[in-house]
Structures are given as C-alpha cells and as structure tokens.
Symmetry: C3
Subunit: 346 residues, 3 copies
C-alpha cells in the first residue's frame, strides 16, 4: 500500500511542507528510512540524524521544522501523528474466525463465531469469548471468565476463573490475570490462607505486559480502569484499583488495596505500598517508593542515581550517622550563638 | 450451605454476641455484605464502614467490639477466624480424578489414580504425582520430578526435572521451579556455564506465586521450608535456603546461597544479597536491601519514601557531598572548640 | 563414566598433585563429595570445609593449595576448571530428533530433521528451526521466527513473530522474547499505541532466564549480543542494545533504547533508565539505579543496605532536611570565619 504525502497530511490533520505527490509506503527510523518511508523526530537526542536521513518525509513539530528542509508533515504532536500513520501501514492482522483442532474448549463455554481460539489453548466451562477475540497459542481462559470483543490474548496468557477482560485489550505472553492474592492470617507461627474470593475486572483498551501478574481480590475485586497500560513484569496485588489511563512501566510492584488515580505515570521498578491512595495525575520517578498516600497531583521521587562505588560508599557510610550529624550541627549553632552573644555583651 | 451464627461461634471458638439463630451462608466485605453474610474488621482503616454495614454478623476483636452493637463473633484474631469461616463456605473444589485426553503423560510416569492431570499438561518420564494432586492446564512436570499429595499446580506451572514439591502446596500460574541457577565461570571475556546439578526441594504447605522463579541448586539443593509463602514475581537463586513459615511479598529477589531463617517477613521488592545469613524472626521493610548477614531478630529497613521531586532532588544532590559535609562539620567543631578554649583562657 | 585424576589434569591443563591414578566419576560439594568425586573451592567462605571433606580430589588455586594436603588439581581459575569437568561428567542430554505428536507445526515452518519439537509446542508458519535445536514442552515459536543451531528452549518459552535467536543459546521456562515494547503517544488523556515493528535479535551463546521478558524494537531492533547472560525476571525494553558477554542478575530492569557496553556486570534489581549509554566493562552493584550515561569503565553503586528500622528511620527523616542542613552548615562556616577574623583583628 502506498499513500501520497498530501493524502497523509489531510487524513491525519498535519500541515504539508514540500512535495505532496511523493508516495509513502511505510515508516522507519531516521537512519533506516528510504525514499518511500516516513520517519519522525520527537526526542531531541535524535536531531543529529536529521541531516543524514534519506526518508521520503518526516513528521516534525514547529520547533524542529526549521532544522530540516525536506518534505515534512508538521504537527503539534509528531509522535501521535506518527503512531497513527504507522498503524495505517501496519494494521494488526485481522482475526481469522475458527478454532484450532488442538484447542480444548469446554462444551459449556460460549465462544463467538468470529473469535479465534489458537493451538493448545484451553477455554474452560462457562467462559465467554466475545466477537473478534484472538486467543493465541497456549492461552488459558478459566471457568466463567469473560473476554470482551476485539481483545487479543497474544500467547500463553492465563485468565483465571471468573475474571473479566474488557474490549480492545491486548494481553502479552506469560501474563497472569486472576492469581490468588497474597493473603494469610497468622496462627501461631503458621500462615493460614485467606480464601481469595474476588475477581479481576479489567476495563476496555487496557494493555497488560509480558509476565505481568494481577491478583484477584480477596473479597471485593481488583479493578483495572479503562485505558490503563501495564508494562512487563508488573505485580498488582489483590484489591488494587487503578484509575483510567494510568500507565505503569516495567517491574512496578503495587501492594494490596492501593487505590491509584487516573492518568498517573508510574516509572519502572517503583514500589507502591498497600492501603494508600494516590491522587489523579501523579507522576512517580522510576525506582521510587510510594510509602504513603499522595494526595496532590505532581511529580514524586525517591530515586538515587549511582555514582562511582568508592565515592558512593563514603557518602552512604555517613548517611548512617545523619541523625547524629544533625544533632551536632544543632549543638554547633547553639555554641556559635553563645559566642556571638558574649561578643556583643563584651 | 447455611450455618447458624451460634454454630460458627462454637466451631471456631469465638464468643457469640447477639442473635445466634441467624443463618450465615457466606462471607463478604463490610460494604457488600447482606443479612446472610459474615464480615470482619481488622484493619482500623475499615472501622468507618462499621456503622453502615448490612452484614448479618461481624467478626471482631475485643477492642473493636464496643464500636459495633450488632451480632458478632468476638475473638482475639478476627482475621484468622474469618479465614477459617471463609474457607468453610468456599472450599477448594474437590480434585476430580482422571486425565484429560489432551494431556501428554509419559508411560514411565507414576500418576496416582486420585490425581487430576489437566488439558495440555505434560508429565515426563519418571515423574511421580501423588494422591489428590491437581495438575492444571498447561503445567509441565519434568523428568523424575515429584509432586506431593494434595498439592495443586494451578495452571502453566513448570516443575523441572528432579525437583520435589511437598504436600498441600499451591503453585500459581507461570511459576517456574527448578530453572538453572545463574552460574558461570569467566574464561577471559567469555562466560562458561557451570552445570546446575542440584534440585529444588519444596516442603509441605508452601504457596508459590504467579510468575515466581526458583532456581535449582548448582551442586546441592535449593530448599524451601515447610509453610513458606512466596508472592508473585519473586526470584530465588540457586542454593538459597528459606526457613519454615517465612513469607516474601511480591518482586523480592534473593541472590545465590543466601540462608534465610524461619518466620521471617520480607517486604515487597526487597533485595537480598548472596552468601549471607538472616536470623529467624527478621522482618525487612519493603524495597530495602539486605547487603550482609542479619544475625538478630528484629525489623530492618533501608526504604526511602518518595517526596515531591523538586524537594527530593535538592536533598539527593546534597547526599553526593555528605562525606565532605561530615568533614566540614568536624572542622567546625574543632574551630569552635578553639574559640571556646581561647575565651576561657583570656 | 570414570576418568583418572591424571587424565583430568592433562585434559583441563591443571597441575596434578597427589595420586593421579584415582578414578573420578562425578563432581560434588565439599560436604557431599565422596572418594569418587571432585570438589572445588573458590569462595573463601568455604575453606572451613576443607579439613572435613571426603572428596577424592579438589580443584584449588595456588593460594589455597597449601590449606589442603590431599589430591588436587591446581589451576589459576578453579571455578572454570571445575565447570568444565562438571560438564564432562554431566553433559546436556543429546537432542533426540523428532516431533512429538501433540506438537502443532505449521506446514510452512522449516524444521531441521535433527531438531526436537516437544509436546504441546507450537511452531508457526515461516518459522525456521535449525539443526539440533531442542524445543521443549509448551514452547511457542512465532511466525517467521528463527532458532539457531544447537539452541535449547527449555519449556514454555515464547519467541514472538520475526525474532531471531542465535546458536547454542539456552532459554529458560516462561521467558518471552519479542513482546511488544511499551510505546504510546498521548492523545489528550488517552494513550495511543505506537505499533512495535522491530524485532529482537539475539546473538550466539546467550542464556535467558526464567520469566525474563525482552521486548521487540519499536522500529529498529532490540539487540542482545553474543555471550550475553540474563538471569531470571529481567525486563529488557524496546530497542535496548546489550554488548557482548554482559551479564545481568535477576530482576534487572532496562528502559527503552539504553545502549549497554560489552563485558558489563549488572547486579540484581538494578534499574537502568532509557536513552542512555553505558561504557564497556562497567559493573553496577545490586539494587542501584543507573540514571544517566556512564562513560567510563568502573564500579558504580547507589545501593543502601538495611539497618535496624528505628535507626534507619531517624537517619531517613534527617535526609529530608539535608539541603537545609547543608545551608545551615555553610552559614556556620561564615559565622565562624567572622569570629576568627574579629579575634585576629582584636
């Protein structure tokens, strides 16, 4: 498929600069793009490649437009425009209706005729698989679980009994939705399991990364709001609630019953303690710990960048005496005050 | 099933208050419970829901009993009592004996007649699956591995060759028991693999979370004691030993040959370095690093809660000069001392 | 199989000390070894077991040779020598050519006659599986993916469409190679997916741990160099490049487009931010954060070992006022200077 640059400009509401008649047939990086490809710049680190690119055209914002004299689509949000054009040239493959003969589908499951059930998949009794759903190889949809229309479980995904996935979701390989929460009562030195009776309820347009785990609620449900994006190897404990359009990068861990607002951006490896609330529009820098509720929007951090180890160790050793240092500082202030007072008196 | 409140009180050794004749048929949260449901309070954060609850009865401790005037079971450990009653109303489904036709079971495997081997599962040669074991869909039990009686591998669990899982364990989807340890010798710039010849030996009543990985020992075994509970996405390296009834929350990483005591509680995302020992009854706060042996029971921490990023950055920048600050502080103390000495002399 | 100690010495270029005629038939730990076993010491912590060992012979370096008077192979790198001898006695089982009847192999896949495709595996169309490859139970090789000769996918591994794994690699259970990168453009409050069009290209002699995830590139490829070793539960984001012979311990997270040098050693739970460069021969201590480029070889750290929690909390509380403390310190220095100046003047 090829589309003229002018047509792309019109379709995606960008301003055309240069030759609108050239044919664009794909997208590529600045370095790899050829004359039929569209590329884009948003990260300033890549501006250095502008002069050398062989791309047919670039998507740029107004600020960068002056750095490049070739054909361009100019728009306020080049990444968004580029994402849409990339999807135009690389649509998700259509879901082929049917069931692979190796799939095990319980007679009491309800599978839409338009859905695809892949090889080695298992669909248990009472499960509901809606229109145009793609169940990839090796996926398991547990008893009474529901997969909303147009959702794709890529491969080896487990959706445990009774859990619900919304529409147009994508769940990546190895993800587990609906494992038991980590709930125990102490009986002397032994742990007694608290039955985990809730579900996971995932909204529409959610993406869940590879090997991410989302636990079912203990009594109520774990709730993942519409448009939430979870990266790989994220851990969501029981009864967590995540507000709409919040994104969490890789390796984030969220403890039980945390309630996280809408449109939050949680950096990689962040830890979020349990039984707290995070307001809407909170950003947390990677590797930080959210130890208590954050009641206001804003950017939060407790991340500590590495330094040469020898230097780091010296400072870290002092940290262990910081309280004592603070007390000594206060004592010095007192003494100095005393000396000044005496001087003024004399 | 419905049971009178009086019967529950007697069976679970709680003190009855109010109407013992009411029928209880399930458990629920304070907010969701109806007249036939039992609910409980242990976290003080939920006391606010007491006045509005429609629950038939509550499980409370003596301290909270005064806050609520309705029917109640009063006990020293409401969570434990509730867990047991919840299990009464929601027993694990009985294991249905048999083998799904799609399961691949080696002729040289020994599978108890009372066990269930689910769809798409693989049981390799020499494996032993004991009485009432549940092998869920997509699980793999490797050559010569052994699964103890009444254990449940929920789904997509891998137990590698030669590893042993005890009795009454629960292993959640995606968990891997017996992957090779991360052992290499350096040969110039190249890494040469050290064969990982040990096993994983898991005790009785252990629970292993979704997508958790437990490596086999290099020569000896990796050992998980009775009653240990591992949450999701936990990493246990080769030759680690975990003492009985220790619990580890999500995303904990334990490096090779660490020996961890009994009844420890390890918070989420904690890192534990290799070749160290942790005493019995140690609690480590979430996101901390255990960098050396902890020889005494107690609570340990190196967790740093996030602050507004601007403020955090200012403090973190100073941290890089903490050693220098400590030296300047000392120098000031010397100078002040000098001034005082001179004053006293004059 | 048994081999004389003299023969081992010759074959693995170690210096023989003692009785070269004894037969060695296996390897074991110092504690477990019997008269037919070889053991070794490299970690000084294990020297205490030297006196009690019943091993037929030990592998030692010159420094430790004096601590033990029995039969020995003496070599500069005992761990390397031991690894090779251990592999001699415990070779990987040969790959049995064939295809398990339960495997689903697309007619348009190319599978070498010498390869093994295990039970419940799925090989999609256009995939290439080269000579002597082992595809374990439950593995999925996606459309057009390529698995190089002598590589082993142990079990339940997913290699997504179009990705390439080199020769002699080992990929452990649950690992995912080629999941979509975490790429979105913002459209108001909603996230719009950026199609992830690149591949993962894995070199030769790479090992990838259990439940590790490696995302495909957004446009270009994610590249894992020859000889790289990734432990369990590692997250590699899109377009990351990892140089040859770099090793990463468990739970490391690497954000998008990070370029990591050769022969680096990245400790457990380290976080590496995106769009940065790490030089060759960099070591990062466990749990540290690499927040910016590291342009020189060396050891880096931001790890903070745990202390008793009460003590830790006191110091951490002071940390929140570190900037203010630094300012107070400076003010004190100014005042002291003033007092000294006055004294000198008077």
């Amino acid at each position: 498929m090829a589309v003229t640059l002018a047509e792309l400009a019109q379709r995606f509401q960008a301003r055309l600069r240069g030759d609108g008649t050239i044919a664009i047939s794909g997208v590529a990086t600045l370095e790899a793009a050829g004359p039929g490809d569209l590329a884009y710049v948003s990260n300033p680190a890549y501006q250095k490649y502008l002069s050398g690119t062989r791309a047919g055209a670039l998507v740029l914002n107004d600020a960068d437009a002056g750095l490049y004299s070739g054909n361009a689509l100019i728009t306020a949000n080049p990444q968004l425009c580029f994402a849409r054009i990339a999807a135009l040239f690389n649509p998700l493959p259509a879901v082929r209706p049917g069931r692979h003969p190796s799939a095990v589908i319980d007679a009491a499951a309800r599978v839409a005729a338009s859905a695809w059930i892949g090889p080695q998949a298992v669909i248990e009794g009472g499960a509901a698989v809606e229109d145009n759903v793609f169940i990839g190889p090796g996926c398991i949809v547990g008893q009474g679980a529901a997969i909303g229309a147009d959702t794709r479980l890529i491969a080896r995904v487990t959706v445990a009994h009774g859990c619900r996935i919304g529409r147009r979701c994508i769940v990546h390989p190895g993800a587990v939705v609906g494992s038991d929460g980590f709930g125990y009562a102490k009986d002397g030195e032994r742990w007694v399991k608290v039955p985990q009776l809730g579900r996971v309820v995932v909204g529409d347009d959610v993406e869940i990364g590879a090997n991410t785990a989302v636990d079912r609620g203990a009594l109520g449900d774990t709730v993942i709001g519409d448009g939430v994006k979870l990266d790989n190897l994220v851990q969501i404990a029981h009864n967590v609630q995540i507000g709409e359009h919040t994104a969490m990068a890789g390796c984030v861990g969220v403890a039980g019953s945390a309630v996280i607002g809408k449109r939050c951006a949680i950096g990689g490896q962040v830890g979020i303690a349990g039984h707290l609330q995070i307001a809407d529009d909170v950003t947390v820098m990677g590797t930080s710990l959210v130890g208590g509720s954050l009641t206001r929007p804003g950017v939060y951090s407790s991340s500590m960048p590495a330094e040469p180890a020898e230097q780091w160790r010296k400072n870290a050793a002092r940290f262990r005496h910081l309280d004592e240092m603070a007390k000594r500082l206060k004592e010095l202030e007192r003494k100095i005050e005393q000396l000044f007072t005496q001087r003024d008196r004399s």
